[in-house]
């Protein structure tokens, strides 16, 4: 993947250009007002976008979460991001029907079976950092889980097995 370039549009906002491996390219414009625009360019015509989508600040945040790359970051963080490539951190909420609820971490053998690690549990707004194996998971807990992509795939399968 090529670098995303950032440029300033004085009086308007900032522009982030991404050339996709498909040959198409995207420009994301963050207006000073908070409005975002996604401009989609064809390989044949680099001068003007083929399509433009306008998002409000709130919509843009949601879409960003879905795309989950969330590349709207200040430049300072770029170095850190390289260092953690391949590492994912996800926040997973346990629903009442989840089979994990009511069992301890040790009992479930999550790390051994899936490869991901629960590094914290947020329960009733308070974090339990580095929970012990005898900690019982409860419905409504938010698990802060760290791992790689395959690990998460295994974890999702494991959690949905019955």
């Amino acid at each position: 993947m090529r670098e995303i370039t950032e440029s300033k549009l004085p009086g308007i906002g900032k522009k982030y250009d991404l050339e996709c491996s498909s040959g198409e390219s995207l420009s994301i414009v963050v207006h000073n007002s908070g409005t975002r625009e996604i401009h989609h360019f064809d390989p044949e015509n680099r001068e003007g976008p083929k399509a433009v989508t306008t998002l409000t600040d709130a919509e843009a945040r949601k879409v960003g979460a879905i795309l989950s790359g969330a590349y709207f970051k200040p430049r300072v963080i770029q170095d850190v991001e390289l260092a953690v490539e391949g590492l994912l951190i996800e926040w997973i909420e346990l629903r009442p029907e989840s089979r994990l609820a009511g069992k301890t971490i040790g009992e479930l053998q999550i790390r051994q079976r899936t490869g991901v690690t629960i590094v914290a549990i947020v329960r009733a707004g308070r974090p339990i950092i580095n929970p012990r194996p005898d900690e019982t998971l409860r419905a409504g807990d938010t698990l802060v889980v760290i791992g790689d992509e395959e690990g998460f795939a295994r974890f999702r399968r494991f959690a949905s097995e019955s």
Partner: protein, 394 residues
């Protein structure tokens, strides 16, 4: 006294109405505010004029417009890609300023000083209107937008210096002063831009301590009016004082907060300023300048189009993109009015005021239209330049 509120109320109702019509028509509000001023006219506003209340409000308007000009200015923006920016900017200046000078001297038959004002009025595109057009037309990521914005950044820098020079020339009276004053004013503006980063540190620390939003807006406004007053005292005009304060605060990292808190104040007083500008215009003067303004508008359209084509060529843009850039640069607005108001208040020909009113009205309509249709126009011209296929039919 009992009718003061009523008349000010009518004036503000005029502002609100003009803004409403502008929003409904998706048309820039500045020309409509001026039209509202002209229509309200001296008949309704005579008593207010006696009190000079609207004049004071309009003065706040100029001060706030210039303050925001300074605030939105960033030395960093200016220096990034400086060489090309300067080249494009100088090209734009050379073409349109000299056209403006010709309009002032030959078309309007003004004094050299009057012509200098008109040159500025014709030269300066409206960065506000153009930024809005770019947003509305979703052009922000287009290839020529960078060129357009770099020209506008350069223009805003030039107009800051130019306003300083002209306001000191027209404020100061006779010979000896008239050479020293502008040099001094320009020097002060340049020095402020150069040292803003250092001067701003004190302001930064001060602003950080202000937690209360109410105190923040009051403190900034007080500083603004005080600095404007002090600047007037040393004969560099209140507007330039406001500009300098804006330039300094632009470096503090509180720009967003200042803009957010003061935007409503700006909108109210800038509205009064544009309306008041309309109030000062006599209908009979308008007839006298109608033809001249129309000719000047056509010249200006050609001037900016040529600027876009040349600067685009230099920047390596295609012909259609360059043409689009030129057609987008046409609208004139706030700074043309500021210059015209300055000229009128300096006692130069009142024709400048009515000329500018008609001129920016024409260019607001023509400019929005041309910017909207620029892609289609550019494609059409391109198809004329390069007929499809090589066979000549008929």
């Amino acid at each position: 006294m009992p009718e003061t509120f009523l008349e000010v109320g009518i004036a503000f109702a005029g502002i609100a109405l003009a803004s409403l019509v502008a929003a409904q028509l998706r048309f820039p509000s500045i020309p409509l505010l001026i039209v509202a001023g002209i229509l309200l006219g001296p008949a309704v506003m005579s008593a207010v004029d006696e009190l000079r209340l609207m004049q004071v409000f309009a003065g706040f308007g100029i001060v706030l417009i210039l303050f925001f000009l300074g605030l939105e200015f960033s030395v960093g923006d200016l220096l990034s890609g400086a060489r090309r920016k300067v080249l494009n900017g100088l090209l734009d200046f050379a073409i349109n300023f000299s056209l403006g000078l010709a309009v002032g001297l030959l078309l309007l038959d003004l004094s050299p000083l009057g012509a200098l004002f008109v040159a500025g009025i014709v030269y300066i595109s409206s960065s506000g209107l153009i930024a809005r057009l770019i947003f509305e037309l979703q052009r922000a990521a287009r290839v020529e937008t960078g060129l357009i914005l770099s020209i506008l950044v350069f223009e805003d820098l030039v107009i800051a210096g130019y306003l300083a020079v002209l306001s000191s020339v027209s404020g100061g009276t006779e010979e000896a002063a008239s050479f020293l004053q502008p040099a001094l004013a320009l020097g002060i503006v340049a020095a402020t831009i150069g040292t803003a980063r250092f001067i701003s540190r004190g302001a930064q620390r001060l602003l950080e301590r202000i937690v209360s939003d109410e105190l923040f807006v009051v403190a900034i406004f007080a500083a603004l009016v005080l600095v404007a007053g002090l600047a007037e005292m040393v004969h560099i005009s209140s507007a330039i004082g406001a500009l300098l304060l804006g330039l300094i605060l632009a470096e503090t990292g509180h720009v967003e907060r200042i803009e957010q808190r003061l935007r409503p104040v700006h909108d109210i007083f800038a509205g009064v300023f544009f309306l008041h500008f309309g109030l000062t215009i006599r209908l009979e003067n308008i007839q006298a300048v109608l033809a001249a303004a129309a000719v000047a508008a056509i010249i200006s359209i050609l001037g900016k189009t040529a600027t876009g084509l040349l600067a685009g060529r230099i920047a390596g843009l295609s012909f259609p993109a360059s043409l689009t850039a030129g057609l987008t640069l046409i609208p004139r607005g706030e700074f043309s009015i500021v210059l015209a108001a300055l000229a009128v208040s300096a006692g130069l020909s009142p024709l400048i005021g009515s000329f500018t009113a008609v001129y920016i009205l024409i260019l607001a309509v023509a400019g929005s239209l041309l910017a909207r249709e620029s892609l289609r126009i550019a494609a059409w011209v391109e198809s004329l330049r390069r007929p499809k296929g090589n066979t000549t039919s008929g």
